[in-house]
């Protein structure tokens, strides 16, 4: 029995993991959770913004990282719209521009400007939105586009934003790019120091670590980021002295969704995540128990019989 378990085909584990994910998805279970201090700190920083202040939202992830950081990107965009702040969006990832476009189309144009979904009059966004008026491209929000150059671009934006982004994307995809000098939302913004807050959805390099290293520490900027779970231990030392807040993976995204009262993919994924993690913990415990039992039951070689050292 023990031998059989020790040499169990790993495909059985894959199958059980698939079941542990699919069953809670099909039969939803709602488990309670609370926002952790780094997530709450980010929420408080956004909540403290005054209408009309300008915020930079850097969307630095690709489709592979969507399940972890996109729920936060959606929630924080809704939160920023609710606070009626001006939003400057950009990306340092070449696969991100279509993601930014879809965020703008779905949330800014589809929800906020149409007063639908989260911003419907009877929904939390609709009730809490300040000074409601449709967001206009160039005046209330803008997408600067994608810029290659990784941390060099971040360092450059710390000195001169317009040199790094001389033109911004057009309102409609494929339209002529607009010189930033003609964009009202950027009047009075010459570098990263002029933003009231910098927020980033980060899935790796270049991401939150590069922002902290290149500009945040140097210029003492107000900066918070959502990252993939795998990056959390790397970035934790920066909180709270260098980063205002830190949202880690799907769990952090779900906590933020809870704070802005916009339960979405993060919240529905978090319950499933719990079952997946319980299975992994059980598998690790079982594997260790089998390992130590086998070691104990293995016949000991008599002294002098073997020539080994241990």
């Amino acid at each position: 029995m023990l031998e059989k378990l020790a040499t169990l085909d790993r495909r059985w584990l894959f199958l059980v993991m698939a079941i542990a994910i699919i069953v809670p998805l099909l039969v939803p279970v709602s488990l309670p959770f609370e926002a952790s201090p780094p997530v709450r700190a980010t929420y408080d920083a956004v909540e403290a913004l005054r209408p009309g202040q300008t915020v930079l939202l850097s969307i630095d992830y690709d489709p592979a990282a969507r399940p972890e950081v996109e729920p936060w990107a959606r929630a924080v965009l809704r939160h920023l719209l609710r606070r009626r702040v001006k939003i400057v969006m950009m990306t340092l990832w070449d696969k991100a521009p279509p993601i930014v476009r879809s965020l703008i189309n779905e949330i800014v144009l589809g929800e906020y400007n149409q007063r639908r979904g989260y911003f419907a009059p009877d929904q939390p966004g609709g009730r809490l939105a300040q000074d409601y008026a449709p967001y206009r491209y160039g005046e209330d929000y803008v997408f600067l586009g994608y810029k290659d150059g990784k941390e060099i671009v971040i360092a450059g934006m710390g000195q001169n934003l317009r040199q790094m982004f001389p033109v911004a994307e057009a309102e409609r995809e494929g339209g002529d790019k607009i010189p930033v000098a003609r964009i009202p939302v950027l009047s009075g913004i010459s570098s990263l120091r002029d933003f009231a807050l910098i927020l980033e959805a980060s899935a790796g390099f270049p991401g939150a670590k590069e922002y902290v290293q290149q500009v945040v520490t140097r210029y003492r900027l107000r900066f918070a980021a959502a990252t993939t779970a795998v990056s959390v231990t790397d970035l934790s030392p920066y909180y709270p002295e260098q980063m205002l807040g830190l949202i880690g993976g799907m769990r952090g995204s779900a906590e933020y969704e809870q704070l802005v009262e916009a339960p979405g993919l993060g919240t529905s994924g978090l319950n499933v995540l719990t079952f997946g993690q319980i299975f992994v913990i059980l598998a690790i415990v079982l594997g260790n128990v089998i390992f130590f039992l086998q070691r104990r039951l293995r016949p000991r070689s008599s002294p002098g019989a073997g020539g080994g050292v241990g």
């Binding site: 994910i21 290293q213 260098q242």
Partner: protein, 267 residues
């Protein structure tokens, strides 16, 4: 929903299940999905790099008459790029070192002060700030405990990497504490990595089942049904191919054994 969106979603389901079929065994469905992924990724990146990087930063500037003779300066980055490709010609491979040296020098100059500032100076300041907070009269017990763990963990971790210490003595005992601190750190990293990977699997499942869309859209997509059909068809074919492969291997082994037996008998 438009028909092309529904068909697109079904292709998404087929490709997702094809990629996951690798967990059972390597197979043609996985290879098809893998090659499609690599091809489309490279195609996308090439187009983006041309239109968002090379064209605006180099081509448009070199061909812009308004810049006058000054635009000749953009030939320098062009040469540096071309030098990198010189590595393909052994006779001129040395030229690539100029470009590599430029890149390394530039990045070192940019990053070394940034690392020192954010990861050393600012981190020491953060540690001291935590200790200062914990020693104030109004400090809470968890601030004090946190500062204690922070300082002890940091110092013992550093002592572990002090390799010229003796294998016995007080420093060794501190280093053993450091090992425990490092192990807890690695454990936390592993836990977060597992969390991240499960999140990705959940993300795929949500997308396959259409749960990231509205209820009306999800109903039109029939994600669960299409996924079930794909699982049955793909895994059925893969299991059949795997079975045939094992039969072939067994047959080859049997023939080899018979051959060996005949050779032994003939001797």
């Amino acid at each position: 929903m438009a028909t092309h969106e529904i068909i697109g979603h079904w292709i998404l389901i087929f490709l997702t299940i094809s990629i996951l079929s690798y967990l059972y065994a390597d197979n043609p469905f996985y290879k098809l999905a893998e090659h499609l992924f690599v091809g489309t990724s490279i195609g996308y990146v090439v187009v983006v790099q041309w239109f968002d990087v090379i064209k605006p930063n180099l081509y448009d500037r070199l061909t812009n008459d308004a810049l006058g003779p000054a635009r000749i300066v953009y030939l320098i980055p062009l040469c540096l790029v071309l030098f990198l490709f010189a590595k393909l010609v052994p006779r001129f491979a040395w030229l690539s070192r100029i470009s590599v040296a430029f890149v390394i020098g530039f990045y070192a100059g940019q990053n070394i002060p940034a690392y020192l500032n954010s990861d050393l100076v600012a981190q020491v300041a953060s540690t001291l700030a935590a200790v200062t907070r914990a020693t104030k009269p109004d400090a809470t017990w968890h601030q004090m405990l946190g500062a204690f763990v922070l300082v002890v963990g940091m110092l013992s971790g550093l002592v572990y990497f002090f390799f010229s210490r003796r294998e016995s003595g007080p420093l060794n005992a501190v280093a053993r504490v450091g090992v425990w601190v490092l192990m807890i750190g690695f454990g936390a990293s592993f836990g977060y990595t597992v969390q991240g990977r499960i999140s990705l699997a959940i993300g795929r499942a949500l997308e396959v089942f259409g749960m990231n869309r509205t209820a009306a859209q999800a109903e039109q997509l029939h994600g669960k049904l299409v996924a079930a059909v794909c699982v049955v068809v793909i895994f059925g074919i893969v299991a059949f191919l795997e079975h045939k492969r094992k039969l072939r291997e067994a047959e080859a082994e049997r023939l080899a054994a018979e051959q060996e037996k005949r050779e032994n008998e003939s001797r």
